[in-house]
């Protein structure tokens, strides 16, 4: 604080003096709370900040389902789900550190402003110790910054941009979801096997930070296997009709189209590319192919038949066969009658991981939680052994390469797992140039005291 | 030399020659009426005086200065006020506010930003506006909402607004159009009173011969965009050409 700063205590005195006729100074909260929103009662509140309106509302809804399930499991209701398979065994189903878990929800509207407003209300009004959620990188980064300033923990859910744990990484923020670099690293070898190393790729990229980082990552990874990047065209977000961007692709000499789009944009650009008959064409003597680097179940449902045979990557999928996945899918499926999406999985896991870290640390103090999570290695929550790297708070684990199924039997298995890319292949140094280089730093953990 | 000198004015709308070679001189402190059958070009001519239309040919001089090419508010600031056929007032404001706007426009000119003065503290303006309202016998209606008044009252208000600017020339576009006989007579009386009280020139476009002959000192008869004759009321009454073109049908 600067020298002229009025200290918290000083301010309270002033406040008390003005209100002296009405109240005694003692009724003001003592500044004694050790950290922001220290839970003092018999319960602890978590904030689930997801999009409930706007284009990603469906993702938000599925995340919310998973959060509610996680709270149930933490409080000892239900079958415990993946808590039973989790390698760390400190969670006992009695809440967190014996405090019952309660939660508040908010609507991010997929806008940084609204997300920050909602998160602030959770911190200021409801007194949460941790916020989780998000379905866009801009929102995740904005809320992560807020959590850092306010002194609470942010467990990011769906955010794929390199920046979240790259140049915008924060000590109080953790990301379980994979990122654009990992997508590229996982996809490239599979693409090489499937389409050969002599390919010319044309990128259509959503014109904002996530799109750019993904395009950069995919281009770098595919160029490393010998592909040539013919062109990269930036498309406006929410363009709706992509025809004028798709039409020139064939004439450019490219034989692969990479769609760096997400959500509705991806559904539309893929559908329209198929309508233009791109996949039926033969260019340079090769079958024309389309790649969608980042997949989600909801996008796959939106794109319907068009995703058949199209490669992409995912953080997790319910079709995995490990015990953690099976336990989670079983309890989610029994509660909601449908398999969970990848974002639901991240939401669930992040909540358990936070509860576990608090329990191991024996404190809700954010700095203690950060310490407990940094370098934490665990297993049993789906997709195998995972490391929360201390340098950038990114989780490292295997990455799934997916493909649109040719003959899906239900609406839920429209994507099939082609390969589980081992974690070594998607590793990168924390000071990688795509992640802010050596300048990027987590800063100090902030407990708000 | 009249206060308003119109020379050789012509105006064309597409295929229609609305005005051609109009010459007119309105003497200072006189009441000059312009009459003519429907479509004779009376309103077009008036619009050429106030800056709403720019004639294709000719000149319009007011007080020795050309008005052509000037915007309506500039011409108004030169000293020409206009009363419309349908009263144009500020319907959402009170009667008093209507008149005060004119007083401000007269005192402060076309634009002056004065956000930190208070209307209620402008004693001079208030006094002036009240005088104007009492001149038209509307002081008792000062707080009324202008749009809710009768048409006759709206007309009187509009006159008060025009007079508040102390114009040299008052243009009246059919001031009694659509009025009942009694209202018409009141308006005539009001105009006479105004004329008596101050030095003002009036140019009236009118359909109602009763009004014209009660007020006008000189009359110009317009037919098919050209002045037919210009003379005193007495002479106009008996003029054969006028009878043929106009009076025969309506009087």
């Amino acid at each position: 604080m600067s020298k002229t700063n009025i200290t918290r205590r000083g301010l309270m005195k002033t406040g008390a003096a003005t209100g002296a006729g009405l109240a005694l100074p003692t009724i003001f909260t003592s500044g004694a709370a050790a950290f922001t929103n220290e839970p003092t009662g018999s319960s602890v509140k978590l904030g689930f900040n997801v999009p409930q309106t706007g284009p990603y509302a469906e993702e938000g809804l599925d995340e919310l389902r998973a959060y509610e399930l996680a709270v149930e499991h933490l409080n000892g209701m239900g079958d415990g789900g993946a808590m039973n398979t989790f390698s760390s065994k400190v969670l006992e189903g009695n809440g967190i550190l014996g405090k019952k878990v309660e939660y508040v929800t908010g609507d991010t509207q997929t806008k940084s402003d609204a997300a920050r407003a909602s998160a602030k209300s959770m911190i200021e009004k409801d007194g949460v110790t941790m916020i989780t959620g998000g379905s866009s990188s801009g929102v995740a980064i904005a809320v992560q910054g807020l959590a850092q300033d306010a002194g609470i923990i942010f467990m990011a859910a769906l955010t794929h941009s390199n920046d979240t744990t790259g140049k915008d990484r924060k000590a109080n923020g953790f990301r379980y979801f994979f990122n654009a670099y990992m997508s590229g690293a996982a996809l490239a070898p599979v693409l090489k096997n499937a389409y050969g190393s002599d390919r010319r790729a044309y990128h259509l990229t959503a014109d904002y930070t996530w799109g750019w980082t993904q395009q950069e990552s995919i281009a770098a990874a595919t160029e490393a296997i010998g592909w040539e990047t013919v062109n990269n065209v930036l498309t406006p977000v929410g363009a709706g009709d992509f025809s004028s961007y798709i039409a020139p692709v064939l004439n450019s000499g490219a034989d692969v189209l990479v769609l760096n789009h997400y959500g509705g944009d991806m559904v539309n650009s893929l559908t329209q590319a198929i309508q233009f008959g791109l996949k039926d064409k033969v260019v340079n003597g090769k079958q024309f192919e389309i790649v969608v680097p980042l997949y989600s179940e909801l996008m796959a449902a939106g794109a319907g038949e068009n995703i058949k045979g199209v490669y992409g990557s995912m953080n997790w999928n319910w079709q995995l066969q490990d015990p953690g996945t099976q336990a989670f899918v079983k309890s989610f499926g029994e509660k909601y009658g449908r398999p969970p999406s990848g974002s639901a999985h991240t939401a669930y896991v992040q909540t358990l991981l936070y509860a576990d870290a608090v329990t191991r640390a024996g404190s809700f103090n954010p700095c203690a939680v950060v310490e407990a999570l940094e370098g934490f290695e665990f297993d049993g929550l789906g997709i195998g052994p995972t490391l929360y790297r201390a340098e950038d708070h990114q989780a490292f684990k295997d990455v799934l390469v997916m493909k649109g199924a040719e003959n899906p039997t239900t609406e839920y298995d429209t994507l099939e797992i082609v390969e589980v890319t081992p974690v070594e292949q998607v590793m990168y140094p924390p000071d990688h140039p795509m992640f802010g280089g050596p300048e990027a730093s987590l800063g100090e953990c902030n407990d708000g005291a | 030399m009249g206060i308003l000198e119109v020379k050789g004015v012509g105006k064309r709308f597409g295929g229609l020659q609305a005005l051609s070679d109009v010459n007119l001189s309105v003497a200072e402190n006189s009441v000059h009426a312009i009459i003519g059958p429907n479509g004779a070009g009376k309103s077009t001519l008036l619009n050429c005086f106030v800056g709403k239309l720019i004639p294709d040919t000719g000149s319009v001089m007011f007080n020795g200065q050309s008005v052509l090419g000037r915007k309506p508010h500039e011409i108004n600031q030169m000293g020409i006020s206009r009363v419309f056929q349908t009263p144009e007032i500020f319907g959402d404001l009170t009667v008093m506010e209507n008149v005060m706007i004119s007083c401000f426009a007269h005192r402060d000119g076309a634009f002056r930003i004065h956000p930190f003065e208070t209307v209620a503290h402008e004693a001079d303006i208030i006094e002036q506006a009240e005088t104007m309202l009492s001149d038209v016998n509307m002081l008792d209606k000062r707080e009324m909402h202008a749009a809710s008044m009768s048409r006759g009252d709206k007309r009187r208000l509009e006159m008060a607004m025009c007079l508040a600017q102390e114009p040299k020339l008052l243009l009246l576009d059919e001031p009694t159009a659509g009025m009942a006989r009694a209202d018409t007579n009141n308006t005539i009386a009001l105009l006479k009173e105004i004329k008596e009280k101050r030095d003002i020139t009036m140019a009236i476009i009118e359909h109602d011969m009763h009004v014209v002959f009660s007020l006008a000192e000189r009359i110009t008869v317009l037919a098919q965009g050209t002045p037919l004759v210009e003379d005193t009321p007495e002479n106009i009454k008996g003029h054969p050409k006028v009878k043929e073109a106009y009076l025969g049908e309506s009087v």
């Binding site: 920046d163 | 959402d92 634009f111």
Partner: protein
Amino acid sequence: MKFLGLSAKDTRFLLIVILLTLATPIILQPFPEGSGLATFNAGYPDLMQRFAIFGIFAIGFNILFGLTGYLSFGHAAFLGIGSYTVVWMYKLLDYNVIWGLPLAVVTSGLFALLIGYISLRRSGIYFSILTLAFAQMSYNLAYSVLTPITNGETGLQVYSNDPQVLISEGETSPHFFGIVMNESAKLNLGDWQFTFNNGYYFTAIIAIVVFYISLRIFRSPFGLMLRAIKTNQTRLNYTGINTRPYTLAAFVISGMYAGLAGGLMAAMDPLAGAERMQWTASGEVVLMTILGGAGTLMGPILGAGFIKYFENIFSKINDQVLHGWFEWMPDGLEDFIIGLSHFFVGKSWHLTLGLLFMLVVIFLPGGLVEGGTRIWHAIRRDRKPKGPDPEHHPEHIPHVAEKEEF
């Protein structure tokens, strides 16, 4: 009782507004903590700040739209410009808001001058679309091409490698000469907890000042001219008034209010997102003004509070909260009520807002203030049936949709 050049009635009005504003942290916290209805409490810093900030935005917008009738659909652009200016000052100088806020007013004023000068060449819907076009261009560019200046989707924020040439030790968040915006004092009275936040009071004092300015503008000859523009531009032109500079002045003033509001947003929370320039944000202030009552002094502020309240409170009502309220009911009925509530709260809060827009405009034409006044008069008339109406309230005059002009 008169002061600052106001009439006795206005002074009373201003004093009430000041009192309400200062007591907001108490008024908005009517329910005890932990009770089921605590969800409806709005007395936490972020929302109170938003009430004040959007109040300022709407007050300014009202000077343009409420007085002159010119409906701008692009005022969010100035909000964004104000925010970006303030965050840039954080990045370049330090976290003291004293550098950014005045500059935010100036830059948004300059942009308003430029955009207003061009847009005011047209009137009616053509003017609206021109302002919309400018704002949408600003938004689209800020979101993508101008990312080096605006940090695009993420929003402009301070990074540790920013110059911050004036920064002093330990300065980590916005402050006004050491009064740190996000610090609060809390007062516990029984089960009630009241939060007195520095940022809120900073915004509230500015809001009172700009409200006073708007009151003065309403009562000034300038304000009278602006109202005259709304009711009859033709007459005004023939009364010797050049309307363009008046509308431009109103446009610039309201743009500066918007810039101030945007600057304050960044002063409360040092991040400026591009979405605050989007057409929906411009539309929001239009809705606030109309909902509260365009052209009335208090209306826009009420409208702003109304919309922000729904956005922040209703969106947070989830199943857990609903169960808390209705658990005393028999199971079947509880499920039914909760199922029904899903239409209106939580993820469906937009629906409630939409319905309320419709209800207000259908049953309270002229907005909340007009409606409230009418109800008030109806009650008073009941009490003393023969008492004359002391303030004249005009009946509604239908707009003339088409007015022929050459």
